[in-house]
């Protein structure tokens, strides 16, 4: 098994900096999701790790040895490209066996391994098919099987599920995660879908404009975002402009003071402008407006079956609150309600 260290990796294309100072230590067998909006440099980072692009700065350590300048074809990695990059001139079995053929593995062993892999990705008996005879989900599995054929030390995937429809995508997320846990291969998956990251990852690396914003386990990143960008990108979050008191004891939002309690996270300078981040499930509604409540008007109610989503307007801000159906407020659109934010779940971020 293999640890992976990214040590100050950077990439410039001409004068454009696509990635700057990416540093992360990835433990052996971890499932890492690179998460960020389109164009933030996720693919570039994956290509640096695979050696398909030389880094402008920094080093890459694989299992403790410096492989920054090891040619791609000597790295023994597996990779699933965004386009899948299956060979149209080869059958499914020949595609999966390609890395073995390149390594001159004997034919019998090759055939046996291909059968194993087809079983693994649940495509038994499909070896003789041509690539164009497969559905999107099946191609996906072939690409994954091909990437795993040599028992790679590091398995890289670039948005492998983005082309699939929602149902199949969720199914494949769970399957891929189970497969990875069974094999214990150090895996890095690129995605711009935060749900996908939350479903699969041991570690999430959030990137914006070529810079790492936060690294951590998904729930920690969700509960304790490092900044307003992360809070808004991972899950939905209500971001409210506020002021943090000089002692950092309370925040002022829309002229209401909210006392902070233990468990609330403060990452802003006391006595200055800040952003209060509240998850929709942490917004509590009451039919009457108490003294410490934030007054708001209900603008829309969406019944989503498993949950209810209430849109609210409180003057300067619009908020979203979600709750289970049994906690559905007895309020109509246009009703005046009071808002409370669950104590211990409030995050005060630098603006």
């Amino acid at each position: 098994m293999t640890t992976l260290s990214l040590d100050g990796l950077g990439k410039r294309f001409g004068s454009f900096t696509a990635l700057a100072d990416v540093t992360a230590d990835i433990p052996s067998g971890a499932f890492v999701c690179l998460l960020g909006p389109s164009g933030c440099g996720k693919t570039t980072l994956l290509r640096l790790i695979a050696g398909l692009e030389p880094p402008s700065d920094g080093r890459l350590l694989v299992g403790g040895t410096d492989q920054t300048h090891t040619p791609t074809h000597r790295r023994d990695f597996g990779m699933v490209f965004q386009s899948l990059a299956l060979f149209p001139h080869l059958s499914v079995a020949e595609n999966i066996a390609y890395p073995l053929t390149i390594r001159n593995v004997p034919r019998a062993r090759r055939r046996q391994r291909t059968e194993e892999l087809l079983e693994l990705v649940r495509l038994p008996g499909m070896g003789a098919r041509r690539i164009h005879q497969l559905s999107g989900g099946q191609r996906q599995r072939v690409a994954i099987a091909r990437g795993l054929a040599i028992d790679p030390s590091v398995f890289l995937l670039d948005e492998p599920l983005s082309a699939l429809d929602a149902n199949l995508r969720e199914h494949m997320q769970v399957e891929l995660r189970e497969l990875q846990q069974r094999l214990g291969v150090t895996t890095i998956l690129v995605t711009h879908d935060q749900k996908e990251a939350l479903t699969m990852a041991d570690i999430v690396i959030v990137i914006k404009d070529g810079r790492v914003q936060q690294i951590g386990p998904p729930m920690e990143v969700y509960r304790n975002p490092a900044n307003a960008f992360v809070a808004g990108f991972i899950g939905t979050s209500n971001l409210l402009a506020c002021r943090l008191s000089a002692q950092g004891q309370h925040v002022t939002v829309a002229e209401r003071e909210i006392a902070l309690t233990p468990g609330d996270v403060v990452q802003a300078q006391p006595g200055g402008a800040a952003v209060l981040s509240i998850r929709p499930e942490d917004v509590e509604l009451s039919p009457s407006v108490g003294d410490s409540d934030l007054p708001a008007t209900v603008t829309f109610i969406r019944d989503l079956g498993e949950s209810v989503q209430v849109s609210l307007d409180c003057g300067d801000h619009t908020l979203v609150a979600t709750m289970p159906p049994r906690a559905r407020p007895d309020a109509q659109v246009g009703a005046q309600v009071g808002l409370q934010f669950a104590s211990g779940r409030r995050v005060v971020l630098a603006p």
Binding site: T72, R74, R75, S83, F87, H89, Y98, I102, R103, I150
Partner: protein
Amino acid sequence: MSSNSLHATPGWLALLPAAVLAVLFLVPFGIMVGVSFAHRAPGGFFEPGFDLTSYARVFTPFVGRVIVTSVTLSAAAATICVALAFPFVVFLTQLGRAAQTVILVFLLAVLSLSEVIIGFSISTLLSQTAGIGNLLVWLGVIDAPQAYTPSLFALLVGLCYLGFPYTVLVLYPPVARIDPELPEAARVMGASPVRIFFTVLLPMLRKPLIGALILVFVFTLGAFLLPQVLGRPVHWTLSVHITDQAIFQSNMPFAAAMAVILLLVSLAMIGVTLLLGGRERGAR
């Protein structure tokens, strides 16, 4: 998608090019076939008839040898052109946009050179008095300048010069269209650049490569000037003899009969090439 666009275009539109083709190609071809059976009149002309004399002359060991020479020369030129142009095009597509454009424009410019100019340029370049022999002497490689023309080597250089730009232009679009992630995927899976060339690019481009082979083969089969300028008389191809008979010996029926045979031989060679290319695919 392609079947959609086929249906979107009314079929009768194809009639126009078909008619043009019939008038410009089939009619002269018919006349040529007619002439090949014509009766040669003593005054250097011919009169219509059904005379097999010309074909009798075609099926002689001499013309047989000439046909073998022609086919071998063109096949060699086609093979060399494709063998050189294919790696060149792969390299070309990896360059930047600007560099690609410059090189493609340069190759297009080469296309505007006629067979005559190419023939005499290469003849001069390989001559004893003004050729590269002098350069080699100056470099100390050889003692005295020598002529490298006329020779088989000079002739092949000429034919390849003629065919190379066409080969590049035929191969460029399909090579450029290959998803760059395919060779990259092969690289991640452990293939060296040479293995990628033979296991990914070559098999994926079999059809365009066969097309390029056929194009250069047919194209150089028609060359009638280069063999005379750069080759020895043993390298004279059927095209040279056809020109000779038609223009200098005024034997139109014999020239026409040889032209018909040349066409049949080309078609046969193309058929064999396609068959070989297709069979390999079926066997996979």
